[in-house]
Each structure stands twice: as structure tokens, then as C-alpha cells.
């Protein structure tokens, strides 16, 4: 109302002064707010970027460490198992063999043959542990059934799998990675969950393939998984995360609404199918 009543010169002067001062104050305030806000946003983005880089670094580290672990295991197997076996064969087939009687010679050759067979079996086992032949030849379904059969054989836990729609197989690299993820999940379940059963199901929609593991022991929720994954100890979970990420898939850890079961769902895009 003051502005409307400003009819004499003094009042107009006040209006002009206050109006100008007020407008300038508002303008400066707005500019300062924008600068501060933008700085905050940029620093936040930079922090996020740094965190992402750190996480990627951790993933890379985990992947390198797991590769190194695998190499060390193979090296140890070769050195500790295949090495002594072949050394023993060498002992049986030494230069003195020709100076011995025929019966001893035959016995030595027979023993060497036995040890060579054992070595072949050992190397085959090592090779199978790297790429399961069932997986390569018959696919994920057979490999999972094979793995579950072995688990059932131990008698400590009941394991079952049901593939509802797996007529078309996944691409080999997907099958191998998914199998490794399933192996890790099943191992974790056996080691940590104290569950009495593990049940795996496979389903398919128009866009995704779902592989779900249920168990009745102690499990993880998504938050716990993400928290554990980011700790230096969560090597297996990091591997799961990086494998799933490379496959452009998703993994979800949940507790059943009935609080009885834990479930882990892997969502794979349909493009991964052959």
C-alpha cells in the first residue's frame, strides 16, 4: 500500500531507495545461492565419481586376486600332486631298470603305468575344475544338476534344481559366469547359512531369464550384501558382483515375506540366449 500511496517526492525517494536496495539484495542473494548450490552439486558429483572409481578399483583388485588365487591353486596342485607322481614314475623307470631281472622290470613298469593313470586322472580333475565338461557339453542345467547331485551325495544338505524353460541355452560365456556365480552362492550357503535345503529354479519372461536360489538358513538381504561387498573381506561377493555386472545382469538378495526363506535372484537379459 505504501508504494501506491507514494505520491509526494519524499515518499517516492524512499520507494526508489528501498526498491533499488531490495532488488539488488535479491539479485545478489540469488546469484550467491546459485554459486553455492552449484559448488555443492559439483563437489557431490566429484565425491560420487571418486567413490565409483574406488569401487571399480576394489572390483578389479578382487578379480586380480581371485585370478591369482586360482593360479596359485593350479600351481600348488601341479607342484604337490602331479610333481611327486611324475617323480615317482621317473624313479621306477630309472637307468638301473635294465640291469634288473624281468619280473622286477615288469613290476616297475606296471607301477609306473598305475601312477601315470593317476596323474592323468589328476590333470583331468584339475581341467574339469577350470571348465566343467558337463557345462561345456550339456549346458547350465546339466552342470547345475551335476553339482547338486554331488552336494546331495554328501548327505549334509538337500539340494534340488528345476529348470522350467531352458530349451534354448545361454551363450557359453554367460553359462560359465552364471555357473561360477551359482557355485559361489551355493558354497556360501553351505558354509554360512546352516540351511537344511537349497532349491534352485529357472524361469523365463519375454525380456529376462530368472535364476533363483531358495534356502531356509541364515542369509543376506540386499543392503547387507551391498555392505559386505564393499568390505575388503567380501571377496566372493565382489566376484559375484563383477561377474553379474559384466553380464549386464542383476542380482537381488531378499528375505521371503514369510521370514522363513532367503532367496537370491539373478536376472539375465534375454539377449544372452543363443
Amino acid at each position: 500500500m505504501f508504494f501506491l500511496q507514494a505520491t509526494n517526492s519524499t515518499n517516492v525517494t524512499y520507494v526508489v531507495y528501498f526498491g533499488t536496495f531490495g532488488m539488488l539484495l535479491l539479485a545478489v542473494g540469488l546469484i550467491v545461492f546459485i554459486v553455492i548450490h552449484q559448488r555443492k552439486v559439483i563437489y557431490f558429483q566429484l565425491r560420487m565419481k571418486k567413490m565409483q572409481e574406488e569401487q571399480q578399483q576394489m572390483m578389479l583388485q578382487a578379480s586380480i586376486e581371485s585370478q591369482e588365487e586360482e593360479r596359485q591353486r593350479i600351481a600348488a596342485d601341479l607342484h604337490d600332486d602331479a610333481g611327486p607322481l611324475l617323480a615317482t614314475v621317473r624313479l621306477y623307470l630309472n637307468e638301473n631298470l635294465i640291469h634288473q631281472d624281468q619280473a622286477t622290470q615288469l613290476q616297475s613298469i606296471y607301477n609306473a603305468k598305475q601312477i601315470i593313470d593317476d596323474t592323468i586322472q589328476l590333470i583331468r580333475n584339475m581341467s574339469h575344475s577350470l571348465i566343467p565338461p558337463t557345462l561345456k557339453n550339456f549346458g547350465l542345467e546339466s552342470a547345475v544338476n551335476d553339482m547338486f547331485q554331488k552336494i546331495n551325495g554328501s548327505g549334509s544338505i538337500s539340494a534340488s534344481a528345476r529348470f522350467h524353460d531352458y530349451k534354448r541355452r545361454l551363450k557359453l560365456e554367460y553359462e560359465l559366469s552364471i555357473f561360477r556365480v551359482l557355485q559361489e552362492l551355493v558354497n556360501n550357503t553351505i558354509k554360512h547359512s546352516h540351511s537344511s535345503f537349497i532349491h534352485l529354479t529357472q524361469n523365463k519372461t519375454d525380456q529376462y531369464i530368472y535364476i533363483r536360489i531358495h534356502h531356509d538358513g541364515e542369509g543376506l538381504t540386499q543392503t547387507e550384501y551391498e555392505k559386505l561387498r564393499d568390505t575388503p573381506q567380501g571377496m566372493g561377493l565382489k566376484n559375484i558382483f563383477s561377474r553379474v555386472k559384466i553380464l549386464n545382469s542383476k542380482i537381488l538378495f531378499e528375505k521371503d515375506p514369510s521370514n522363513t526363506y532367503y532367496k537370491v535372484t539373478i536376472e539375465i537379459p534375454i539377449e544372452a540366449m543363443l
Binding site: 526508489v16 535479491l26 540469488l30 552449484q38
Partner: protein, 214 residues
């Protein structure tokens, strides 16, 4: 007024930038406008028509071109074009139906002020919305818009009330002081904007061309 022109020629890089060229053109036009105004004013001619009709339109066309060229979204680009159209229509209506040819009638300038404040707010809004990694004050266009925004906001009231307020000759000094200070700040800041190169204080790098993100 010479500061931005000098800054343009003293600036070793970024002369190729379109908006800086328009700023140069704008200030040359403004300089010509002032010279002509003063020439006619001291010879007691009424400069209202020349000032109000010819230069107001031309200057606003150039300012809207500057805003259009520094816009990174269609919002500001459209805003500049629509704003110019509305301003031109409002100014034409005012000049035809309401203007009395008084030298102190600064209402057309307050129309400009409204448009400039709106365009500046649109510019700041699009800068806030932009997923940007370059600090806003590292951009020359920020300094240009800040200068225009402060000047438009500061002179808004004195322009609206000029005709009435300046009836009393004692107020003319105050008017000149406020207007003069704001114009000096405006020219200095625009000079700085014209002189400034794209330099991100965080990345400590200087580029001679406009960054893709800006």
C-alpha cells in the same frame, strides 16, 4: 562503456566466440547511441523518439541474440525469442498509446529490465539443472548475465519512477549516482566477461574454445 570494447581487443583468446562478438556490437551501438543522444540533447532536440524507437529495439535484439547464443537448452532460446517478441509488442503499444515524449520517461527501459531479469533467471535455472562439472563462475557468460541481472534489478525502480521522481531537480543527483555506480559495475563486469577465457578453477586448465558441456 569503452571497457568491454577494450577488453574484447585485449583478450588474446576466445574472440571467435559468437556471444562476445555480439557484446562488442552491442557496446559499439551503445556508444553511438550515447554520442548521438548527447549531441542532440545539448542542441535541445527531443531525443525520445530516436532513443525510444530506434535504439531500444536494436539493443534488445542484440541482447536477445546474446542470450540465445549462450543458452544451452531450448528453454532459454525460446525464452529469448518469445521475450523479444513480447517486449517489442509492449514497447510498440506503449509508444503508440501512452508515451508523451518526456525525456525522463524511462518506462521502456523498465520493460527491458523485466525481460532481462526473466532471461537471467532462466539462464541461472538452466545452469542449476545442467549436470555440470565446470564451476559456474568459470564461465564468461555467467559474468555477463550477472552484470545484466544486477544492472536490471538495480535500475528497475529508478527507471519506473524516473519520470515522477526527477520532477524534483534535487533528485537528479541521486538518480545519476545510483545509475552511474550500477553502470560502472555493469561495464566492469561485462569487460571481465569479454576478457575471461574458459578456465575451470578446479581442473586448473585453460581452453581456447567453449567446452562441450558449457
Amino acid at each position: 562503456m569503452l571497457i568491454p570494447i577494450l577488453a574484447f581487443f585485449l583478450n588474446k583468446g576466445n574472440k571467435q566466440l559468437y556471444f562476445k562478438k555480439i557484446i562488442l556490437l552491442f557496446f559499439i551501438l551503445k556508444l553511438v547511441n550515447e554520442v548521438i543522444n548527447n549531441y542532440f540533447y545539448y542542441r535541445l532536440y527531443n531525443v525520445y523518439v530516436l532513443n525510444g524507437i530506434v535504439f531500444s529495439y536494436l539493443k534488445m535484439v542484440l541482447i536477445c541474440m546474446i542470450y540465445k547464443s549462450i543458452a544451452s537448452t531450448t528453454l532459454l532460446r525460446k525464452g529469448a525469442l518469445i521475450g523479444l517478441f513480447i517486449y517489442a509488442s509492449a514497447l510498440t503499444m506503449y509508444l503508440i498509446f501512452f508515451a508523451d515524449g518526456n525525456y525522463y520517461d524511462k518506462i521502456p527501459s523498465s520493460f527491458q529490465g523485466i525481460l532481462l531479469i526473466t532471461l537471467s533467471i532462466l539462464f541461472f535455472y538452466e545452469q542449476i539443472k545442467k549436470p555440470e562439472t565446470v564451476f559456474i563462475y568459470a564461465l564468461p557468460e555467467f559474468w555477463y548475465v550477472t552484470a545484466v541481472f544486477l544492472h536490471a534489478a538495480g535500475t528497475f525502480f529508478i527507471y519506473i519512477f524516473a519520470k515522477f521522481w526527477l520532477q524534483d531537480a534535487t533528485n537528479e543527483n541521486d538518480y545519476n549516482n545510483i545509475h552511474g555506480i550500477l553502470t560502472i559495475i555493469y561495464n566492469l563486469m561485462i569487460g571481465f566477461a569479454v576478457w575471461k577465457q574458459y578456465r575451470d578453477p578446479f581442473l586448473k586448465t585453460t581452453t581456447t574454445s567453449k567446452p562441450i558441456t558449457a
